[in-house]
Point group: C2
Chain length 404, copies 2
Amino acid sequence: MEGFDKFISYDDAMNIFDSMNWKYPGKENININSSLNMISYDNVYSDQDIPEFNKSAVDGYALKSSDIINAAINNPAMLKVIGSSEAGEKFSEKIKENQCIEVYTGSEIPDGADAVVKVEDTEKHGDYIYVYSSLKHDNIFKKGEDIAKGYKILEKNERILPQHIAAMASVRIDNITVYKKIKIGIISTGNEIANKKIVNSTGILLKNYYNNNNFIETLDGGIYSDNAHDIVKGINNIINACDIIIVTGGTSLGRKDMTTDAVSSLGKLLFSGIAIKPGRTMAIFNVNNKPVISVSGLPVAALLSSLIFINRYIKNIYNFDYYKKITGILDENIHNKIGFTLFQICRAYETNNKIHILPLKTTGSGILSTIIYGNSIAMVPENLESIENNKYVTVYMLGDIKWD
Amino acid sequence: MEGFDKFISYDDAMNIFDSMNWKYPGKENININSSLNMISYDNVYSDQDIPEFNKSAVDGYALKSSDIINAAINNPAMLKVIGSSEAGEKFSEKIKENQCIEVYTGSEIPDGADAVVKVEDTEKHGDYIYVYSSLKHDNIFKKGEDIAKGYKILEKNERILPQHIAAMASVRIDNITVYKKIKIGIISTGNEIANKKIVNSTGILLKNYYNNNNFIETLDGGIYSDNAHDIVKGINNIINACDIIIVTGGTSLGRKDMTTDAVSSLGKLLFSGIAIKPGRTMAIFNVNNKPVISVSGLPVAALLSSLIFINRYIKNIYNFDYYKKITGILDENIHNKIGFTLFQICRAYETNNKIHILPLKTTGSGILSTIIYGNSIAMVPENLESIENNKYVTVYMLGDIKWD
């Protein structure tokens, strides 16, 4: 008879998984232009100041502020324009009293000057400008004000955003060290998908889900009928090119022994049957120090049960969650069967300035439509019988927050 | 003298922008496998039921539930196993009283049967099974229970997620109509970047920011010195391949006339100078019914001021915001200059189950580091002098919510 005493707990499964000596993918040095959404391997510091020099924040005239400190409508200051400098350039002479030079946004502030008056706050007459008031701001964009020498542009283990790339480019960092992409192979099994009676929607879901970022790459390992020899061959074909393999299908009782025997012939079974819902029939193997994750053929079970281990794998490398998280107020109770860790599909939405979490009723783990209306997963630990409504709950996002 | 009476208001600028007869990019029919993160052009409905038939949700025996309704430990029901059917297959005969067939997860429920008993709840003796209790669930995954015929898988104007693709595949939809990608050309101008005294971090920021999704494509239009003839040539080179062009640099007063004259020779100036901060010196032109957006050479000003019009362009086509939004509690007052619409860079973070919004002090619109520490933008309308702390404020996200 079935009982959960035959299922390993979620925590025990994670501990076994973590204790393996997995061959994590390592690092590589790449050009910053290819690094968008990859994960930094090191802290990246600026070795220079940006701006590299004091520069004008406006178009106008660089001058000594002391020359116009008493300027007023009835007492204009008059300064001689002794030259000009383009953006990015510096005037070669030192500015003396009652002198100024024409500057543009980005021009280097010349020696002797300590402020810039905006062109629209001056009147020009021949070689002279008249200034009718003192300055509220010096209008200088200071050396190092944006990015100071030593500033940490990028943290180790951080997802690389457009603004990081722009900041690295501005301090002339061309190459950085990132983690190599994690390569996930997907092997789909089952007579009903091999003979095309049923579409392999599970394989399609996993491929698109794991491809939807720039630090994972998926590899389609093909579709196999329920034949241990073929499945072994399929895994062998791709194992060297992959860091992780997900095998879908073949976890139902009638097929389990075959899949288990097949994969066991290649490596070690770590556990089979885990007290999670959905996905309790999953198994994990260690093949050449790479995880082979055997999951249900049903799409939602396959996604959620593979995801919790892929997330763990990522956390072990990068020390961050693959998932994006958000906390909201639970709209309805979530009930759980003690002894099982529940992954409850929810709809996270914002209304009246608050995030709400609505748990969705599902009647089966094959229900694709619940992750179309839903967008997130709440995790209920095995020792909790329920989470009450109106409590705060943190969910992992599978899509964007909705606005209802 | 400068005054904001010379700046067009944000609302007026938007109205003018909306009133143009822009050549929006149109639609195309593509394979669902290439559609991830593109935008649907039509509602997509299922024309079939998934599952296509009643199927077993477990491995076990399909039977008439009335045959085991009185089954108990001391009164087992005994049924004859008259055959079996594989997942995806259907047994050809009708099940009669006290008969059953072996089924697997996914097998079609045979005629005559209305329930499935799990294999682990039975004992097999020769051709017979013994069942010791009645059923709590029928263990049948009903026809149409996942996706019913007529179910709307995808809304018009929705971003296509992995789960949409899997659902479309499962109902054998191969091709769908999506909006063509919006092609944004980026022309960078300025002597200081053309002569490489300064790195073109603004162009790099825009390129990576707008490329960071699958419904926009950017085209690098090159770097030009402050020469009207070259800039005109640069725009002409790419205008046919683009839907929108962003020209960076050349909005400071000393250069504005040149850029304005250059782009005006190709099309109509809609407005120049808009009461927003940062980015007030921007201008928009209509060239061949395509927007040419002239923005500051400073990275943050260039990003924010182009973004509000790109977002508007997208909203006019797709009726959704390019930005992802979140509402949180403001940690500090935001002050605004009446008459200007302020785009305030903030850090949105979750702590103690709440989203907080911390406005960041910036001293200039070139400050890249503020959009590294910050991740979002709060918009303060021109008629508001401030937003007080502890008020709710909705921000547009430039990165992920932080967890502090």
